[in-house]
């Protein structure tokens, strides 16, 4: 979906988002407060430049507007697959973006991620997944790899994967699967502006995704294993 339409729905009180080479930035009004907007569009691959632009926007917000909430709009086909990006250390650029988001959180900024179109593997990991909470629209695409490609690599027939995916959300694409696993806090529909306002109100800096995944039954082991390691006890039965 186009970011302009999204922005109209999301920010009925107005916004000043601009697009430059698939990089989105600006501010918007939410419940009378100014929030900072950072994101990408056009299914753009995340290369070193656009990772750095997003980081720059976040750092600027931290420096110039203490406490201002940040909304990250996600639409990407994943990390850029180029020799140049690897040579220049794309993992460092991605990590830098992730660290900037983390700093913002520790400095008291609320951070919401929203997958409004595509979120594929590496492009997603240091943006939406680094927010306090990440949300998705119902038609969003979220995945690491499609089932046909996975079937080729794992040598498990695609039909079998489709069958298994019905009961186990662990490998198949789709926002519902990520929702069940706690990676996506909620899938938004209806009044997006209201959803966003609620999300901002609820945001805090604690990573509860494993607990939510357990609660929703989509990721039954993660939280229990974390607890067992932390407490030095056995993994508790379900």
């Amino acid at each position: 979906m186009s970011w302009q339409l999204l922005a109209d729905d999301l920010f009925p009180q107005g916004h000043s988002i601009t697009e430059k080479a698939d990089f989105l930035s600006g501010t918007a009004q939410v419940d009378g407060e100014v929030v900072a907007i950072v994101g990408t569009t056009g299914h753009t691959p995340i290369g070193i430049e656009i990772a750095l632009s997003q980081a720059q926007a976040i750092l600027q917000t931290v420096r110039d507007h203490p406490g201002r909430a940040i909304v990250i709009l996600v639409d990407t086909q994943g990390q850029r697959l180029r020799h140049r990006d690897e040579m220049l250390g794309i993992n460092s650029y991605m990590a830098h973006l992730g660290k900037c988001i983390d700093l913002a959180r520790r400095e008291g900024h609320k951070i919401i991620g929203l997958v409004y179109d595509q979120a594929l593997s590496g492009g997603f990991i240091t943006s939406g997944l680094m927010a306090d909470a990440c949300y998705a629209l119902p038609n969003a695409t979220i995945r690491v790899m499609g089932l046909p490609a996975m079937a080729r690599i794992t040598k498990v027939p695609e039909e079998r994967l489709v069958e298994l995916a019905k009961s186990n959300p662990v490998f198949a694409p789709g926002p519902e699967n990520y929702h069940r696993m706690g990676g996506v806090a909620e899938i938004w529909s209806g009044d997006l502006a209201a959803r966003l306002a609620q999300a901002l109100a609820a945001a805090d800096g604690t990573d509860r995704r494993a607990a939510v995944g357990l609660q929703r039954g989509g990721r039954n082991w993660s939280q229990r294993v974390v607890d067992a390691v932390v407490s030095g006890s056995d993994v508790q039965p379900l």
Binding site: L52, L59, M87, A95, M145, Y178, N220, S222, A228
Partner: protein
């Protein structure tokens, strides 16, 4: 037992990295906490799900350590594997460890449980930064034959310091993936010399993404970790606006200086190294001293 870090497996590495007999494993293999997903896809499991985590001593100092087993599914991160890393980091905070050492060898997210792996990697990332925020330095070691790729390549750069051997590789997408996506002209994955000068330890050190190069030797890694941890005594470990602005500037400058370069050799030349083609054959110590005046120094 071998002294080569590359040849040792995860258990051997961690045993040799810490004071003899000091390592106490959390959720050891006898607990049989295996991946609940691999069996479904008729894939073999491992009793530690490919990662060894626990507590031990380094020259008497209380440290927490994890070692990924590159031999099991390429060291890839699944639900249990990722949760063991997160748990370790949380417990290190709770017990006020003097440092966390992560011996990473991984292709990134485990495809068989890709969604769990992806979320887990981001949880690990946040847990690493929580650990740093608690004043505990996190040191990453990369020296296994599978390198450190994918999301874990990002995690590595969230740590306070990275120590590599020249055989170690640190990157995001593997050369095969790039070749498949964009052709052999883009990245010839069979040209291993190119692969290593693009992703290998020496290049990462020269660019400022890694903080020390050691020989492929567990004792050399141990020594480097010891020194690095010393360096963080009474020094801040948490992220700061100032440090991240400096990193922003460094990364911007990197693109400005080298963005038009096609081959890492040219980057090394621009850094002022006379005979960049000789870099590949230099032993670790000789390389470190040759690189010192030229390399970019990064920290965040």
């Amino acid at each position: 037992m071998t002294s080569s870090y590359l040849e040792a497996n995860a258990r051997e590495r961690i045993a040799q990295m810490l004071d003899a007999g000091s390592f106490e494993e959390f959720l050891p293999p006898s607990k049989r906490i295996v991946s609940p997903h691999l069996g479904q896809l008729d894939a073999p499991v491992s009793f530690d799900d490919g990662v060894v985590v626990g507590r031990g001593a380094l020259n008497g100092a209380k440290v927490f350590a994890a070692a990924q087993e590159g031999g099991f599914m390429g060291g890839a991160v699944g639900e249990v594997h990722g949760a063991k890393l997160v748990g370790l980091l949380k417990r290190a905070v709770q017990e006020q460890a003097e440092g966390v050492i992560l011996l990473l060898e991984t292709g990134g997210v485990r495809l068989h449980e890709a969604n769990a792996g992806l979320i887990a990697v981001s949880e690990v990332m946040r847990a690493v930064l929580d650990t740093r925020a608690a004043g505990i330095p996190v040191i990453v070691l990369v020296g296994g034959s599978n390198g450190c790729f994918g999301g874990m390549g990002i995690v590595a750069r969230c740590a306070n310091a990275i120590i590599m051997s020249e055989e170690g590789r640190l990157a995001m997408s593997g050369p095969e993936v790039i070749e498949t996506a964009n052709g052999v002209e883009e990245f010839d994955s069979r040209d291993r010399a190119l692969v290593w000068r693009t992703t290998g330890g020496k290049h990462r050190y020269l660019l400022g993404d890694c903080h020390g190069i050691v020989a492929d030797d567990t004792a050399a890694f141990r020594e480097a970790v010891t020194q690095t941890l010393q360096g963080f005594k009474n020094n801040p470990t948490a992220l700061s606006l100032q440090a991240l602005e400096a990193e922003q500037a460094m990364l911007e400058q990197r693109i400005a200086r080298f963005g038009d370069v096609a081959d890492p050799l040219e980057i090394w030349q621009r850094l002022g190294i006379d005979k960049p083609q000789d870099i590949a054959m230099l032993e670790a110590a000789a390389f470190m001293s040759l690189a010192e005046p030229h390399r970019v120094k990064g920290q965040a």
